[in-house]
């Protein structure tokens, strides 16, 4: 009955061993899964002493697959390593001899195990610096391209791919709503709770409402929304576009005369600019609700909370926050698409650009937020 290989392992005997000659007698079947023992044994023996004559007897080998052939070749290649040795192979059956003859053993040079090259630190610093500069250059040109395409798109709204944009709005906006609401509700709640303790020492629990509302509307609402967007959608944009790049779909767009930035990036960027302020509105509201829960549990009536918020924040705070959110949306989507476009070949490249999209997205958000603080301060907002 035919079955998978279950033949016994081949055997190896050393006969006629003298000081400078030896005969290796192989018996059985040389197969991938069973050859390793005799291979190691044979090599150990032939390299243990400087034999001048080695005879490899394979008369009794009735099956020899590619791995067996490799073993025989390895033993025969000993002549390459040492000049004063005479190795003969006896009794290899015709079928297997053909397999061995496929290799030109005289010119066959197995490569030595390559060791990872170590780069001197100066070279590494230089490489990193030049990569950074290259990255910066690409970023600047992408920003230019994106703004130009955005400008063209706004001038001719018919060129925008509305369907893609609506789809992105759904995926980056509507689907993100639960997580944004949850995180911001907890943020408001935690902030109120943590501040309640120190404020109590001054009997100033009343002002928890001021703290939560100012912090949420001006800073945390837009910031948290943008960071969540970077993690959820910036990475998705990078992965989508990166996979398209790997599959040469981006090249296909280019050769069809379609600008990949206009086609792929613009709908996503516009969608993010629309969606981030909307999500921020929900984020703000949920943050305030979180604060309200603590406020009420401290014994204040709801109306006090509302009045306190009314006196603490103005509409300008809200609008300022929403404007920031729009800019964050632009940055997150822009950097996501940019990293996607930057993807090189291979599966790991997509992973790399996704990671980089999230990291640079968050860095850009925080940097932009710092800038906004300064600008709002100067403008007196």
């Amino acid at each position: 009955m035919p079955s998978f290989r279950n033949s016994p392992p081949p055997s190896l005997e050393f006969v006629d061993e003298t000081t400078d000659s030896i005969t290796l007698v192989f018996k059985g079947e040389l197969r991938t899964d069973s050859v390793s023992k005799v291979w190691g044994k044979a090599r150990k023996k032939t390299s243990s002493r400087l034999f001048s004559t080695v005879i490899i007897d394979v008369h009794n080998i009735n099956y020899c697959d590619g791995t067996g052939i490799a073993m025989l070749a390895d033993l025969l290649l000993e002549t390459q390593r040492r000049t004063n040795v005479d190795i003969t192979l006896e009794g290899l059956k015709e079928d297997f001899q053909q397999l061995l003859d496929q290799f030109d053993l005289k010119h066959f040079k197995p490569e030595p195990e390559s060791k990872a090259k170590s780069i001197p630190i100066t070279e590494e610093v230089g490489l990193t610096a030049s990569q950074f500069l290259q990255d910066l250059k690409e970023l600047i040109s992408f920003v230019g391209e994106a703004f130009y395409s955005l400008w063209i798109a706004l001038k001719h709204p018919s060129t925008i791919r509305w369907k893609d944009m609506l789809l992105t709005i759904e995926r980056a906006g509507v689907n993100a709503l639960p997580i944004v609401c949850l995180i911001c509700f907890l943020m408001g709640l935690i902030m109120a709770f943590q501040s309640a303790i120190p404020l109590k020492q001054f009997a100033a629990e009343l002002f928890i409402a001021d703290l939560v509302s100012v912090a949420m509307l001006r800073e945390l609402g837009p910031l948290m929304t943008a960071i969540l967007l970077a993690g959820r959608s910036g990475s998705a944009f990078a992965a989508e576009i990166g996979t398209m790049k790997v599959n040469e779909e981006v090249n296909a767009l280019q050769t069809m005369g379609i600008d990949p930035v206009r086609f792929l990036a613009i709908p996503r960027i516009i969608a993010s600019i629309i969606v981030t302020p909307l999500l921020t509105l929900f984020a703000n509201f949920m943050g305030l609700v979180g604060g309200w829960v603590v406020y009420v549990s401290l014994g204040f009536p709801t109306i006090v909370y509302i009045n306190q918020i009314k006196s603490a924040v103005t509409l300008t705070d809200l609008w300022g926050g929403l404007f920031k959110a729009g800019v964050f949306g632009l940055l997150v989507a822009g950097i996501g698409c940019f990293r996607g476009m930057q993807t090189s070949m291979g599966a790991s490249a997509v992973g790399q650009s996704t990671t980089r999209a999230v990291v640079s997205g968050i860095v850009l958000i925080v940097m932009a937020d710092g800038l906004f603080s300064v600008i709002y301060y100067i403008l007196g907002l």
């Binding site: 035919p2 079955s3 390793s36 697959d65 590619g66 052939i69 390895d74 195990e113 790991s348």
Partner: protein, 260 residues
């Protein structure tokens, strides 16, 4: 030395479907040891689908597949692993790992499935690569070599463990005629001297006539096999005109037989 009568693969009443759409219905065939078995058919008739079922990537909707008397469909994990160890697969696109050099790609199955030392594994991998003419490209990465070379490296990787059955999905597509005929010669040699069984999806008529022992032709309309036999017989005397046409490259072609 080859025993050509063992049945290596047996498909009985095999039905392949994606969800509710049936691609192949009630297919029966068997492949014998040392046979070069070609799956043929127009585009979209389910050749690759059949191949993916034969290698266990998809569960069939019905029927059974036996590889060397092992039931592939109901195999437990250990049996499945044993079957996989004894088959080699080359995918249409090559499917090499981009993060590894060609040598490392070929060495990977050896590292996972054998007890050989690094020296031996390197030698084997190098030999397999030189078999497909890539002996000088062992340190290159897949992205650094051409599509045809990637394909050849993929064949080398499929052969790494000297499997009993090799499944090749369009091996000669994208290769130049010389490399393609060298590959044909290699397939014949391995089939004859080692009794390796080949299951090949192919369109290349020249190569089919050169290597095939047996061909089955699938058809999208009947969702089954419409022809089964050696290529020359099918070309000359099959009762179905469509089959003869296929082998003669259409109605309007007068080529009687493609030379080896």
């Amino acid at each position: 030395m080859t025993i050509k009568n063992d049945i290596v693969i047996q498909a009985s009443a095999l039905t392949c479907a994606y969800g509710t759409s049936v691609i192949l219905d009630n297919i029966n065939f068997e492949v014998r040891r040392g046979e070069v078995f070609i799956i043929l058919g127009g585009s979209g008739c389910g050749k690759s689908t059949l191949l993916k079922h034969l290698i266990g990537l998809y569960q069939p909707a019905g029927g059974s597949i036996k590889i060397i008397d092992q039931d592939l469909v109901h195999a437990n994990q250990q049996e499945h692993r044993r079957i996989l160890k004894n088959i080699g697969v080359m995918y249409q696109s090559g499917a090499l790992f981009g993060s590894m050099s060609l040598l490392e790609n070929v060495r990977l199955p050896l590292e996972e499935h054998t007890a050989l030392d690094t020296h031996a594994m390197n030698l084997i991998a190098h030999m397999k690569l030189s078999l497909v003419g890539l002996g000088n490209f062992t340190k290159h990465y897949p992205s650094e070599v051409s599509g045809g070379m990637q394909k050849r490296a993929a064949i080398a990787r499929a052969m790494a463990l000297d499997p009993e059955v090799l499944f090749l999905d369009e091996p000669s597509a994208g290769l130049d005629p010389i490399t393609s005929s060298e590959l044909d010669a290699l397939i014949r040699r391995l089939a004859e001297s080692l009794g390796i069984t080949f299951v090949i999806v192919s369109h290349e008529l020249a190569s089919i006539f050169a290597i095939a022992d047996r061909v089955i032709m699938l058809d999208a309309e009947t969702k089954g096999i419409i022809a089964d036999g050696p290529p020359v017989t099918l070309q000359q005397s099959h009762s179905n005109a469509a089959v003869r046409e296929f082998f003669n490259r259409g109605k309007h072609n007068n080529i009687t037989q493609v030379e080896d």
